[in-house]
Assembly symmetry: C2
Homo-oligomer: 404 residues x 2
């Protein structure tokens, strides 16, 4: 029980204690911890310069013993009344601070680990063939994204220009007409590896520091024209948004669940019978405030531990700040789909909005917010905060539209 009064039902109780980077005035970025409706200034309260670097990277690199030690200390500071006078001056109202990108993103990898999502896209794009490609149940498919355009929640989503191609016309340059979301969960690496090392399933929490929400904005028309044979590129690289709070893996012990039953026996490096890292996160997607989807992360076929084991099985090294995301989280039900292309079935079945109107893909001015909660050790539900973004109109492309 904290001496600090926590709002009823807060998702930021002592069982959570997520880390982020904030400013309260001038641009002196420092590490904060969300507690109730406050942000605790870690640089000030601990005096440790690692929390005044402007990103979580240096602290994340210290490893799990240091992460646990600080977590225990924070609980002590916030429960033992004797610390109150020393701590209280360093609590800022959350509403009064500005949150920044929490990590310097090293490499960004995006997976494709929801079976429902992959099957939905397969049914839409390859009708008459099996919805999953033959490799899908054997390995977690993934690709590298653009780390430099991973930005913090709230960054304006400027509709990207790019080449679009209708079946009966030459390609043209112009604003994407099929701008979409992908509701995802992201995992941030703290402890690096050397080139040639691999991370076994049981070592997941020795390397991964924490968990956040990701919206991997996607221009479906750009992507459809460009992606054969080397995968998504400009259709994704204009922006990826991440939530400002990184929930420590340690806070998620009560959220661990077994993943779905496996369709095929897995190779030993992916056989997670003894190291299940399914996570029971409940996501919610809101369009202009209206709930349009509730994707269940527990349905994900490939767990983050399997993703990390696969990512490194070839000896690829990890760096502090590597971010890997789950891929779109979609459940079996229609209102559990994590992208508009699924929710509107490729635009053929527009969503009817309770607030009026319909939607296939995003319109200028639309705001999308993804939130999530998970069961906490104390029986409460902890919050991941939110990743949000509002669509701004496209700019004029270089060289003009050229026959768009």
């Amino acid at each position: 029980m904290s001496w600090l009064e926590l709002p009823a039902g807060t998702g930021f109780g002592l069982a959570n204690l997520p880390y982020g980077i904030f400013t309260s005035g001038p641009d002196d970025r420092r590490t904060g911890v969300a507690v109730g409706d406050r942000v605790l200034d870690l640089a000030a309260v601990t005096g440790d310069p690692v929390h005044a670097t402007g990103s979580l990277n240096a602290f994340m690199a210290q490893g799990p013993a240091a992460w646990s030690r600080l977590r225990r200390r924070l609980v002590d500071l916030l429960t033992d009344e004797s610390h109150r006078s020393a701590v209280e001056p360093h609590l800022h109202p959350a509403a009064a601070v500005t949150m920044h990108l929490p990590v310097e993103v090293a490499d960004y990898v995006d997976f494709y680990s929801s079976r429902h999502h992959a099957e939905n896209l397969g049914r839409m794009f390859r009708p008459g063939t099996p919805p999953l490609t033959p490799n899908w149940t054997h390995l977690p498919i993934g690709y590298h994204g653009r780390a430099g355009t991973v930005q913090v929640s709230g960054t304006p989503v400027v509709r990207p220009n790019g080449q679009r191609k209708s079946p009966d016309a030459a390609p043209s340059l112009g604003p994407s007409r099929r701008l979409d979301i992908e509701a995802e969960v992201g995992f941030v690496v703290g402890v690096p590896t050397a080139l040639g090392e691999s991370v076994a399933l049981g070592e997941f929490d020795q390397h991964v520091f924490g968990v956040c929400l990701v919206n991997d904005w996607s221009a479906r028309d750009l992507q459809a024209w460009e992606y054969v044979p080397l995968g998504p590129f400009l259709g994704k690289s204009f922006l990826t948004s991440m939530s400002p709070w990184i929930v420590p893996v340690e806070a998620l012990a009560a959220a661990r669940v077994a993943p779905p039953a496996r369709a095929e026996p897995l190779l030993p490096y992916l056989d997670d019978t003894e190291h299940p890292w399914g996570l029971d996160l409940a996501l919610e997607v809101r369009l202009n405030g209206e709930l349009i989807s509730s994707p269940p992360f527990a349905e994900m076929y490939w767990t983050p531990a399997q993703q990390l084991a696969h990512l490194t099985v070839n000896g690829a090294s990890l760096r502090t700040g590597d971010l890997f995301a789950s891929g779109t989280v979609s459940g079996p039900a229609r209102d559990q789909r994590g992208s508009l292309i699924e929710l509107s079935w490729g635009g053929a079945e527009p969503l009817t909005l309770a607030g009026g109107g319909t939607r296939t893909f995003l319109e200028d001015g639309d705001e999308v917010t993804i939130t999530a909660t998970a069961p906490a050790a104390d029986g409460s539900r902890l919050s991941f905060g939110a990743v949000t973004g509002r669509i701004a109109p496209a700019g004029t492309p270089v060289g003009g539209l050229g026959g768009s």
Copy 2:
């Protein structure tokens, strides 16, 4: 004419002056310039701390005016006899220094811009269909690679483990059996852009600092099983090697040529009629010292200026240290192909080596070296140095081989 005696036929004359990061003893990395068979210590000779940061990034971020200024100063220092006594103590024998990764790589993008290479792969993998995908002549296809595993020339190439799948068997985990090279040319970004900006074709040399050689090592069997639908991942991410010397774009004025004739009219942002950035680089690929290919970079269909314009047309921002590579450089002739999969036609037509034996893909102990030269302003040919790597045996994969 330099007061420094330059070896006859050196590719590192005053018309080149490429930058790299070196150590001559303890690990005090600093910026050097290759001159003849020497390396000039820029940190020492200029006293400028920007050259003692251990990477070229801070200098590259200063922009083209600063790049030109230093280049002029270097020519002055090396030609005016009066500077000799001040400069000479800071010239190290190139053979006595160790070269390091020259840039902190931000994002790494790999293109696919040789028409001959793309057609060769199309003919091998999709017989009976057009060798190029429909998008190929409309845009420079590319994808993001793993920046964290870009390493300097000479880094051992440990054969990667991964999933391989024969048509008639379940996938197995084990060492790649089809380890290959990709002879490429890389371009390093100095001046960043903000999110939402695009770089027009005519602005190429305002952002790109220099040019290097890249070997994008590729495990063809891993890649073949994993790459549908999201592109290459583990088949490439274990290692990408880059040459230690970055040749300034300014040194390549005499190497600029018009690119090949266009198969289709290009959209305005890619129409480079007024800004041709074809480059007449002559590459050579050696396997265990034997010349096996001479890929002509002037044959590349898409120029680096087009690649950069495309990469940013959706508003994706650039960072100092971004590296983008051309994709495998292959010419029309068999002995101009930049990968073993092309040289051995998928393994069906093994290369006969003059030194004895044959080769389809790389064997443990093989060493591959890629070099290149280009015409210089003074009529000589400037050198890009070399990117080299030797294949080391695979390690034991995590979890064992599991039925390999």
